[in-house]
Point group: C2
Chain length 116, copies 2
């Protein structure tokens, strides 16, 4: 047990207690962090923002982003596993689209923030 966690250094027990009571369950915290991670990379963010306008295939996204199709495909797999995007097959082409309106909402709130 680390010495810097001994009880004598808990200065405000009431505040710690209040934080504990208001805390989200660990499982939800982890899900939230995972969710935010999807938006925490420029490439994924551009993908999500592009798909927010209209569906696109891997090829289009690669051209738009200026990265390899393999890189796009890897990121799309992540986003698929998080159920943030889904695809629709038309012959050999897979068209990707967003699955949830919260996605654009989240970007809008964040934009409000960074624009002050």
């Amino acid at each position: 047990m680390p010495s810097d966690r001994c009880q004598c250094r808990i200065v405000h027990e009431q505040q710690v207690e209040k934080a504990r009571n208001g805390a989200l369950p660990p499982a939800e915290i982890d899900k939230l962090a995972q969710f935010f991670k999807a938006f925490a990379d420029p490439t994924r963010l551009k993908i999500l923002q592009a798909l927010n306008q209209e569906e696109m295939c891997v090829c289009d996204l690669a051209a738009f982003l200026g990265v390899s199709e393999s890189a796009v495909s890897h990121q799309l797999r992540l986003l698929r596993q998080m159920a943030l995007v889904a695809n629709r097959r038309e012959g050999p082409v897979l068209y990707y689209h967003l699955t949830d309106a919260h996605i654009s909402q989240l970007v809008l709130v964040a934009l409000d923030h960074i624009r002050e």
Copy 2:
């Protein structure tokens, strides 16, 4: 130049063009990704959520989170550099608080999402 970016594979030029027109400036994309990164780690997320309820000192946060004060201090430095938190000194104790209402708003939207 990678072979998988040759022009012949841009299937839908109109869609790529539309994505380009609707795209956010690169600087804004990077800022957004950086902003979301703050929320993309369970420890930081717990800190932000705790501070959303009331101000707390490093010591309290360490006790609440069950991690070392050093770890908390490092994360608080990041959040300070991003201007998401600020502190108020009272003697030797630094009380940290959130600087922006967008923070709790963002968490609420994300919660809506993960709870379906």
